[in-house]
Every structure is written in structure tokens, then in C-alpha cells.
Symmetry: C2
Subunit: 301 residues, 2 copies
């Protein structure tokens, strides 16, 4: 079987496993599934869990679409010609508790003409950050990377820091993780092995944090802080995210693309966290830093 | 005094008059003002009223900024060179009641090299639409246009329909109004007279609707519909709105630019209004139509 066919099978089965694990973790919510076909070719399965016990909204999408790229997109990609196939899995999880971070992950295999490459990554967006959780998250991704190539983690961690950045806010969307694209070459099978290993790490890396923080108490003011911070998530996804823009331009399924948006969001004019507050502490997390070797930040709380 | 100087004075005084009228209409809320300077040159006064009696969030911004345009923006504009000055007033009003529409208006004077032009417009975004209100709103704008040039209303109404459009949703942001840009030429004084007349129409055109609908009863489900529809407002402003993009690229003041975003917004996966419901009726309003001469739509409610 050709590699893209094996990749799409892996991604589809990964979606199954992720959804099963998230339902178990949530304890109450169930995913609804929408299977869809794309007019230009291919289709997908979008699964969304809303109003769960732990997760206010969790979307896990698998898709395998093919067709013609818009010319301005085709020119920017490594392959030749406009014919493309893109298969992959993506997820965004917005927990109800502001003590549990939002996470996002995406792994995909692209083909354009003779060229075939992988892209993807996983990242974390805390509201009330716990340094030990951020370190553990990064450590998991470093472990996965190191099993395949010692240059991966430093490269992909930096790429993630640069990608999930809001220039107009001068801050990152969250605390990063890993991000990579255009990963190809003669060793494509080895790259695929890495992508599988990474895909299988999404749930364990996130579950550890959910289990640790799901019972943390919080009140109305912490919830308000979360709703306000979620606005930045929307700003990133609608203004800068290439996946969103690519999806909307290639006539992707709108509801599957925008499932990443948080369920409830507040924008307040010129709002800022009070200096020295737990909320203000988040800011120090939103700039690139070496989580795995830097000395601990002295937390004001 | 040069025209741009007279224009900026008009816009600043218009901001004063609009804010005074909106406070009176609201009955409870007060505008807070932030005066700001832009590093590249110029500045502005941003005024926002939050959690008022009628208005959940109302922002009225005046600014007069100058500097160097980014090259890719400069090339797309009618003037030559990169030096620019932009002064104008803009407002977005998000009422608390879903029975009262959101409105937006913006009037501006741009100079680039020797070229000087006006742009602007006003439009309405209802949640629970009333056909008579939409007609009255358009009639007011037609009256203003007709006082200056009989070709204005048909041209600017169409321009508005085309501008406030979400391709990924296949619908307009609201029911339109008027929109124009690059309005210049030998008769710039006459154009300025039109812009002043239009600027003075913003409050009366909207106040009539607010007064008529502010006491309409509504409950939790109507409020939820409003929060969900506000998501489309965010999608338009962050993905397509040129004003937002221009502002963020020219290092405008972020909080002044994003004051247009609604205070509280909900995204639900694949949500649709039930067929035949009052909520579904809105859809028929979100496609270009001739409000002033077309036969009445037979309303399903």
C-alpha cells in the first residue's frame, strides 16, 4: 500500500482511539459524528463532544481530501502542479475548567504531484498555568522527538514558538509544544514512524494534565478570565492560522474547520490582569523559553 | 484651513455628538475615554461604553494618524508614495437585547502624496429582524445620498452588500446599508459635504430602531441566538474586514481596532436554526435585495 494510503488509515484509526480515550476521560460527554464528502474530492469524519463533564467542547477531525489547489497556494508549496491530496487528523479541546489548559494537535500527510510530506504538532494553551505541567508536556514531546532524531525537538519547539504567535498582541497563543511542516525526503518511512509515535502521544501527554487539574477549585472570576483569554485563541485562529486559511480557501467544510473556536468567549475593552495577580502570571508564560533546562521562574502566587 | 484638517475637526466633533446622544439613549452607561498617541505619528481618542442599560458595548473611535504605509498597502492605494494621513471616526454598537440590531459606521479621510479621498459607510446587523426597520434604515441612507448625488445610493448600497459578505458562510454580515471608498476628484468639497451629512445621520437612523425595539420582550433562548449570531460578526471582522487588517498592519492601537468585537460570543458546532422558526427567518435577510422597492417577503412567522 502506498504511504499516503497507510497514513490515512493510521490517522483514521488514531481518531477512533483519541475519541474513545477522551470520552473515558470526560466521563459524561459523547462525540457526535458527521461524515461528509467534499465536492472536489474526498471527505472526512468530524466528531464533536459538547457540554461534557470535563470538556466544554472537544473536536476531533479526520479528513482525506483531494483536488486542485488554488494557484496562489500551489505556488507556495514544495511540490509541482495543482493536484493535491491532504489527509490527517486534528483536534482542539476546550475544557470547562480554567484550571485545565486547552490543547490542540494536528498531524497530516500532503501530496502535491510527486512530492509527499508530513506536517503537524501539538501545543498547550493554559489559562492558570502550572509550570510543572508545562515542563511535563514539553518533556513528553522531547522524548518522542528524541526517539527519532535528536535535532527534532529543538527545531520543532522553536518552530512552534514562532508559529503560534500573535504579532498584534506581542505574545504566543500558549506555551507551545512542537510544530513541523514540509518534513520529507528519502527517509519518508522514518518520518512516518515519527508521526505515528507523535500521534500516539497526544492523549497521554494531555491526560496527565487533565487528571491532575480537573478537581482544582475555581469560581466565577477564574471562569471570566478563561472566557477573556479565549478571545486570543479566536484572534489567532481567524487572523493567522494557516490551517484555517487553507481550509477556508480550498472550500473545506466550514464547521469542521471552525470547530477549533472556543464555545463561549468574552472580549472586554482594554482589559488587563491586575499586576501581581495569578492572572498576570500567565503573561510570563507566553514568551518563548527553554522549559526543560531554564531555572524556575519564581512564581508570585 | 486644508480639507483634511477641516475633516478631522468635523470627525472629532462628530465623535462628541455621537457619544452624547448614545449616553442619553442608553440612560445608564457612560463612555470612558482613552486618548492615545501613535509612535509613527498622530493619535486618537477611543471611547467605550460597557454594560450600559441598552448597550452591552458601544465603541466610538476618533483617530488622526500619519506615517509611512507598508509597501504592499501603499501600492494598492490611489495615491503615490508611502506617506499617508488617515483621520476618521468609527463606531460599533452591540446592544444587550437581541431585538435591537448591532450597527457599525465609519467615515474617514485619507491622504497619500497629493491624493485625498473619503471612504465610509453605515450598516445594520439584526438578530431578530423587522422588515420595516430595515426599510426605514435604508430609506434614511437613500435620502442622505439623494441630497448629494442620485447615483450614490444604488452604487453604495451594492458596494455595501458586496463588502460585508462572508464567502465561507455564503451570507452577508447583516442587511447592509451604504459603503464607499476612494471617493475623490475635483469636487472634493462636495464629497466632504456628503460625508458630513452622512456622519450626522448615524445617530438618527439607528436611534429610531433602538427606541422602537428596546422594550420588546425576550428570554434566554433569544439571548442564546444572539450570542451565536455574534460569532459571524467576529468571523467577518477578523477574517475579511479591511479596516481591521489595515489597522493591525499599520501598527494601529490594537484595543481601539478590536473594540468592534462583541462582548460575549458563542460558537456551537454545526448549529442551525430550526426550519420555520423566527431564528431561521433571519437567513432570508442576509442576501442582497432591494429593500426600498421590492415586494414584501412573506414572513413565515
Amino acid at each position: 500500500m502506498e504511504l499516503p494510503d497507510r497514513a490515512t488509515t493510521f490517522f483514521r484509526e488514531l481518531q477512533d482511539r483519541i475519541c474513545a480515550a477522551l470520552e473515558k476521560l470526560d466521563g459524561r460527554g459523547r462525540f457526535r459524528e458527521d461524515a461528509w464528502m467534499r465536492e472536489g474530492g474526498g471527505g472526512g469524519r468530524t466528531r464533536v463532544l459538547e457540554e461534557g463533564g470535563v470538556f466544554e467542547k472537544a473536536g476531533v477531525n479526520w479528513s482525506d481530501v483531494a483536488g486542485e489547489l488554488p494557484e496562489e497556494l500551489a505556488d507556495k508549496m514544495p511540490g509541482s502542479g495543482r493536484a493535491f491530496r491532504a489527509c490527517g487528523v486534528s483536534l482542539v479541546i476546550h475544557p470547562r475548567s480554567p484550571m485545565v489548559p486547552t490543547t490542540h494537535a494536528n498531524f497530516r500527510c500532503l501530496t502535491q504531484g510527486e512530492a509527499c510530506w508530513f506536517g503537524g504538532g501539538a501545543d498547550l494553551t493554559p489559562y492558570y498555568p502550572y509550570r510543572e505541567d508545562v515542563i511535563a508536556f514539553h518533556q513528553q514531546w522531547k522524548n518522542v522527538c528524541d526517539r527519532h532524531d535528536p535535532t527534532y525537538y529543538p527545531r520543532f519547539k522553536k518552530w512552534c514558538d514562532e508559529y503560534f504567535y500573535l504579532p498584534h498582541r506581542g505574545e504566543m497563543r500558549g506555551v507551545g509544544g512542537i510544530f513541523f511542516d514540509y518534513l520529507r525526503g528519502e527517509l519518508l518511512e522514518e518520518i512516518f514512524a515519527f508521526v505515528q509515535d507523535a500521534g500516539n502521544t497526544v492523549v497521554p501527554a494531555y491526560r496527565a494534565i487533565v487528571e491532575k487539574r480537573r478537581a482544582e477549585p475555581y469560581g466565577e472570576s477564574e471562569r471570566e478570565f478563561q472566557l477573556w483569554r479565549r478571545g486570543r485563541y479566536v484572534e489567532f485562529n481567524l487572523i493567522y492560522d494557516r490551517g484555517t486559511i487553507f481550509g477556508l480557501r480550498t472550500s473545506g467544510r466550514v464547521e469542521s474547520i471552525l470547530m477549533s473556536l472556543p464555545p463561549l468567549v468574552r472580549w472586554k475593552y482594554a482589559h488587563e490582569a491586575a499586576a501581581g495577580s495569578r492572572e498576570a502570571e500567565l503573561e510570563s508564560y507566553l514568551h518563548p523559553q527553554d522549559w526543560l533546562t531554564a531555572p524556575s521562574i519564581v512564581s508570585p502566587s
